[in-house]
């Protein structure tokens, strides 16, 4: 789970979270056991549809100020260490 969530954890944390997560899972088990045969899911509290905007350009941010917030930038771009895998 920590790998999927991309979190580096030490052994202590892994042990502690494992215990806590199973306690939480036990607590939310009422939801898992619920009989919901003909109950539709609610993803959104309000059934609003087609909220759209016009295709009109708005000003972009100033590049230098955006890059000034980056941990590392180079040549107008965000710099990252080498990437091990290609995008899926």
């Amino acid at each position: 789970m920590a790998r999927l969530a991309r979190l580096a954890l030490d052994d202590d944390e892994v042990g502690r979270y494992a215990v806590q997560l199973s306690a939480i899972l036990e607590h939310v088990d009422a939801v898992r056991r619920l009989d919901t045969a003909d109950v539709p899911p609610t993803a959104h509290p309000f059934p609003v549809e087609n909220v759209l905007r016009s295709d009109i350009e708005r000003p972009s941010l100033d590049r230098d100020s955006v890059l000034s917030q980056a941990p590392v930038a180079e040549s107008g771009r965000f710099r990252v260490p080498r990437i091990m895998g290609e995008a899926p």
């Binding site: 087609n50 759209l52 905007r53 009109i56 080498r82 290609e86 899926p88």
Partner: protein
């Protein structure tokens, strides 16, 4: 020996020609300075929220209609995975409720490829790998530009109906023509506005089940698509024939060594943890959206090819394709020059010559050609077919017409392309006969094959000004004399 059948399904990502991105007002443009078209939304800054671009929805519906799909209520999901080119580390994409489903595409050879879905999603940023020859694994670090992040895409997923490398190519070629014809995309593969992934498998011809497929990525041209399918089919057959089996994986086409390489096996496949995007509301293709989607959309390429071919007469001997069209017809429709040809023919131009000049010469500069006055173009074609201009002269005048406009007769006059008078032509013809006695003798003895040579000599001496038809007449009358 077992015979194998190729099975290909294609996933085509197409960038939409909107003014702004899918979820924000940043400019959707190719080739701008890095990180100049970015805002809190497309940069995934904390607290920012997406709002769907109406135009993108209209264009997606337009694509769906052109691909004979059913438009339906759709929702966006989040596809979660970490990658530096993704500002939010999730992609907003339509998952199990896409906007267009169940369509088909007819290829020029008459075959049909099913379309499973054509859904909307956002593009990622662009990563440049520094060091290691630009290859990802050998690079020392990478640089990210988010100008492309959030550009609207429609991903068109075909059914596994394609049965050869050539058909795969023809499918993408036709799809590209359709996307351009609808105005939904510029279809430029070289700029990445059209990107193709191919799911390729093979199976014994007797088998009803599909074989294990591999997904091949990085197909940047029609040529690499065709080659990659050929390569992958051979690789998979060889694997099976040698007693092995194909494993499901993602492979990368390497243009350099013309082969595919394994990227990631199924076991390492990502768990995308899709769930409905809570920041967006569902899309419903209501009357207003559908009307706007259809507005200003003309006929699709297949119909336009048919109309253009019919100018040549039924069962034309020029037809090289099963749908009765010619390569010239395909080119002209592809470049959107068919209205020009129709206009010229209506103004009295010879259809075959008009089509030829449009497909061969006008095509060299399609943007200018689309602006040509059909009547002026017709005038040019008529001057050529009546013999007033030679083919070479005609092409020159056309180039000038496209560059600066004007009247073809006046341009011809300005360029000195007055029709060569009979005396000058006779002199050149006689000169060629004197200079080539052997060929002349063979021609007189009835060897028509040499006529082309003699004509060529006259063209050369006249610097292309002689009219081919008149030259042929001149030789014929001298033979009979």
């Amino acid at each position: 020996m077992t015979e194998y059948e190729t099975v290909v399904g294609l996933e085509v990502h197409c960038e939409l020609s909107t003014t702004t991105k899918l979820f924000c007002g940043c400019r959707n443009a190719f080739g701008d300075e890095p990180n100049t078209n970015i805002c809190p939304v497309c940069l995934g800054l904390p607290g920012s929220l997406p709002v769907i671009n109406r135009r993108a929805v209209e264009l997606a519906l337009r694509i769906g209609a052109a691909l004979n799909c059913t438009a339906r209520r759709s929702i966006f999901h989040r596809k979660n995975y970490f990658y530096p080119d993704m500002p939010k580390d999730y992609q907003i994409s339509q998952y199990d409720e896409p906007i267009n489903v169940d369509g088909w595409l007819e290829l020029p050879d008459g075959s049909r490829v099913g379309i499973e879905r054509a859904h909307m999603e956002e593009d990622t940023g662009k990563t440049t790998h520094v060091g290691g020859g630009g290859r990802i694994h050998e690079a020392s670090y990478s640089l990210v530009d988010y100008n492309r992040a959030g550009v609207p895409l429609v991903e068109i997923v075909s059914r596994p109906d394609v049965r050869s490398a050539a058909q795969a190519r023809a499918y993408v070629d036709e799809l590209r023509s359709i996307l351009v014809a609808t105005g939904a995309s510029d279809g430029r593969m070289e700029e990445g506005s059209l990107r193709v992934d191919a799911n390729i498998s093979v199976r014994p011809v007797v088998s009803a089940e599909f074989g294990t497929r591999c997904e091949v990525k990085n197909l940047n041209s029609l040529r690499s698509l065709e080659r990659a399918v050929e390569y992958e089919v051979e690789r998979q057959i060889a694997l099976i024939e040698s007693g092995g089996s194909v494993s499901q994986e993602t492979r990368h086409w390497d243009e350099g060594d013309s082969s595919t390489h394994s990227m990631r096996s199924k076991e390492e496949a990502n768990d995308y943890r899709y769930f409905p995007e809570p920041d967006l509301t569902p899309l419903v293709p209501d009357a207003a959206l559908l009307a706007a989607a259809g507005e200003g959309v003309g006929a699709m390429p297949a119909e336009r090819r048919h109309r253009l071919s019919s100018l040549l007469g039924a069962g034309s001997d020029l037809a090289t394709r099963t749908d009765g069209s010619t390569d010239q017809v395909v080119t002209v429709v592809d470049l959107g020059l068919d209205e020009l040809v129709h206009g010229a023919v209506a103004a009295g131009a010879d259809p075959r010559l008009a089509l030829a000049r449009a497909a061969n010469e006008a095509a060299a500069n399609p943007d200018a050609a689309r602006l040509l006055d059909p009547v002026a173009f017709a005038g040019l074609v008529k001057m050529e077919s009546s013999g007033r201009l030679s083919a070479t002269q005609s092409k020159e005048v056309l180039a000038e017409l496209m560059a600066n406009g004007g009247d073809p007769a006046q341009i011809a006059g300005r360029l000195g392309y007055e029709q060569m008078d009979t005396a000058s032509l006779d002199a050149i013809v006689d000169g060629v006969i004197v200079a080539n006695p052997l060929e002349w003798k063979r021609y007189r003895e009835g060897d028509d094959k040499v006529a082309q040579f003699l004509l060529g000599q006259v063209m050369k001496s006249s610097k292309g000004r002689a009219n081919g038809k008149l030259v042929a007449q001149a030789f014929a009358s001298r033979r009979e004399a």
